[in-house]
């Protein structure tokens, strides 16, 4: 703590011998003990994210190494939040189900409060979102993504070497976007399919996250755009997800009694078959024929074999 204050107050680089003289707790130590303690304290500050700089005041004698913390690199920049914004910040404290991330959020909010912002959750009492992190590899991948550490993971039983770029949470599951060193290309990984905690295989900050279009990469995780349509007969009021996605159409063939006909878009035939089966007699597919046949095959299996 005293080392942090000392370096923060310095306008120039301070040499180690000076630090030893002025910092409370250092001057009574033996030479060896001081070296050890100073190195440990300095590394600890850096690991907390305190930007301890190394350099020399004298361009003619660059060997005279000193240390300092630049105030503008250290301090949280001023941020002004209006009342709608502080209400949202207040709610953030209770979102995480994982204790580690909850602590990190609380400590980020404490810093905001220290900077004079007062998050106020009372106004949004009707909202109680939560985010889980139950994947066994989550903690190690999250940490590596935060400080840019290359990792080795076992992905569906296959060893992979990755440079994590960013993470996303979709529909209850975590994903990692990163560079696959073996394939020398960006890849998306589902964290639940990483079998064990990730192992670091390099130093933090040893690669750069490129300016790729992260949004576009995430959008590819969304269900593919429907590019084909199936004609489906649906009982009124049932299979609402299909109805919502579809549009009512006139059907030239016979329409089963008590059904309405919709054209429903889909991207993958196998997904549509599963979806249609799940609705049973509430949704009957009329065309294309191969989807109709696939649905009948699946239904026949369920009707017959689960005896």
């Amino acid at each position: 703590m005293n080392l942090a204050i000392c370096l923060l107050m310095a306008r120039r680089f301070i040499e180690k011998t000076q630090i030893r003289q002025v910092v409370e707790g250092y001057h009574d130590l033996s030479d060896a003990a001081f070296e050890r303690t100073f190195e440990r304290d300095k590394d600890e500050l850096r690991s907390m994210g305190v930007p301890v700089e190394t350099g020399s005041n004298n361009p003619l004698f660059p060997d005279e190494v000193g240390y300092r913390i630049r105030r503008k690199d250290f301090e949280l920049p001023a941020i002004d939040f209006d009342s709608a914004e502080t209400a949202a910040l207040g709610l953030a404290a209770t979102v995480w189900e994982s204790a580690t991330q909850e602590e990190q959020t609380v400590s980020a909010l404490a810093k905001l409060r220290a900077a004079g912002v007062d998050p106020d959750p009372a106004r949004l009492s009707g909202l109680a979102p939560s985010i889980g992190a139950r994947e066994p590899a989550f903690a190690t991948i999250w940490a590596a993504t935060g400080d840019h550490t290359p990792i080795r993971v076992s992905y569906r039983g296959q060893p992979r070497q990755l440079e994590p770029w960013a993470m996303t949470y979709r529909r209850g599951a975590w994903y990692l976007l990163g560079r696959d060193r073996d394939r020398e290309a960006p890849r998306m990984f589902k964290v639940a399919r990483v079998d064990a905690p990730a192992q670091a295989i390099g130093k933090a900050g040893s690669y750069r996250v490129p300016d790729v279009d992260l949004d576009a990469a995430w959008r590819r995780l969304e269900p593919r755009q429907a590019d084909t349509e199936a004609i489906v007969a649906i009982r009124p009021g049932r299979a609402v997800e299909l109805v919502r996605r579809g549009r009512p159409v006139e059907h030239v063939g016979t329409v089963p009694a008590g059904y309405e006909v919709y054209a429903v878009g889909y991207a993958r035939a196998a997904d549509l078959v599963g979806e249609l089966c799940a609705h049973g007699a509430d949704a009957l597919v009329l065309s294309p024929l191969r989807i109709r046949q696939a649905v009948i095959t699946e239904l026949t299996a369920v009707a017959g074999s689960l005896a």
Binding site: M1, L112, I131, D147, G280, A281
Partner: protein, 312 residues
């Protein structure tokens, strides 16, 4: 000796106590997520900290007598530490993800506030931030529900549950929550006289009534494993073809076993209609169901559907 964690906290505590003069001990401990005992220890450490030199005038001053007498903290002589440190990457990511989760549930005016707060945070931290997406239905529905919760009025929903006929329940909305990536409304059902959850993406309309919500108390906890607390939930074991392993990623399962050429999963089922839909969707990938009678609903539904295909 101080730990890194404590030093990180002290570096935020000093500016906090300066921007909150006479801060209360308990409130401060809560803000920093520590016990009051830990906070007192922190203050005792700060007592020995200060400018290089270690002369009495260089040290941070804390009026420990006032702390002991009234539980209020007065800190001075630390003007050089008036602002907190920047966020660490972990803090920034954790906070932004939490805010994005709030954003996924909020609508309208509240949503705009979160968007601008996120933009400011991202400018301040400069870190690429994780994305969050929750199946939360339409923003308009969420906004109406949030307003009804705040205004304490009963609403009528147009709702279609999994495999069920559409209904229009009258409910007293309590809160919007997220579980396993889906947004839900927790509400007191006036017809059933019980707490119910409604998936947000299955609510197609919300009509706000003038009827005020009476005293309904707090909704029950809906934490991880909420299904296990339902007394009517029964365990069902499915043996599946290996290609059906996706089920483990999309449904809350209790256990998964790898067998030779197959997998076996244990599920908790509270709603027979849900299991019926799941078995129909899995189709040929289902090898066996234990107990066997759990598959009866799916078998009948498949036979009914086949009859409809034959009869059209």
């Amino acid at each position: 000796m101080t730990s890194a964690e404590q030093v990180a906290r002290l570096l935020a505590l000093v500016p906090y106590l300066q921007s909150h003069p006479d801060a209360e001990l308990g409130t401060t401990a809560e803000v920093f997520g520590v016990s009051t005992e830990q906070l007192l220890e922190d203050l005792n450490v700060l007592w020995y900290c200060g400018l290089p030199g270690g002369m009495p005038g260089d040290l941070i001053e804390i009026d420990m007598d006032t702390v002991a007498a009234s539980g209020r903290i007065r800190l001075s002589n630390a003007e050089y530490l008036a602002r907190p440190m920047r966020f660490t990457p972990d803090e920034a990511m954790s906070l932004v993800v939490a805010l994005r989760a709030v954003r996924e549930l909020a609508g309208g005016h509240v949503g705009e506030g979160i968007d601008s707060a996120l933009a400011k945070l991202e400018r301040a931290t400069g870190a690429p931030s994780p994305h969050v997406a929750v199946a939360g239905g339409s923003e308009e529905i969420r906004e109406r529900l949030t307003e009804a919760v705040a205004g304490k009025v009963v609403v009528e929903l147009d709702y279609t549950g999994a495999g069920l006929a559409p209904s229009s329940p009258l409910v007293a909305p309590a809160q919007l929550i997220v579980r396993d990536g889906f947004g839900y409304l927790q509400a007191w059902s006036l017809e059933r006289g019980a707490w119910r959850t409604y998936r947000l993406d299955r609510i197609s309309a919300v009509r706000v009534t003038a009827e005020p919500v009476g005293d309904i108390g707090e909704p029950p906890a809906f934490g991880p494993g909420w299904l296990e607390q339902r007394p009517d939930a029964a365990e069902v074991t499915l043996r599946l073809a290996p290609e059906a392993a996706w089920i483990a990623e999309y449904h809350p399962i209790r256990a998964l076993r790898q067998l030779r050429g197959a997998i076996e999963v244990d599920l908790l089922v509270a709603d027979p209609a849900w299991l019926r839909s799941l078995l129909l969707r899995l189709g040929r990938a289902v090898r066996s169901v234990v107990p066997p009678e759990a598959a009866a609903g799916a078998r009948e539904a498949a036979a009914e559907a086949l009859a409809a295909y034959g009869a059209e």
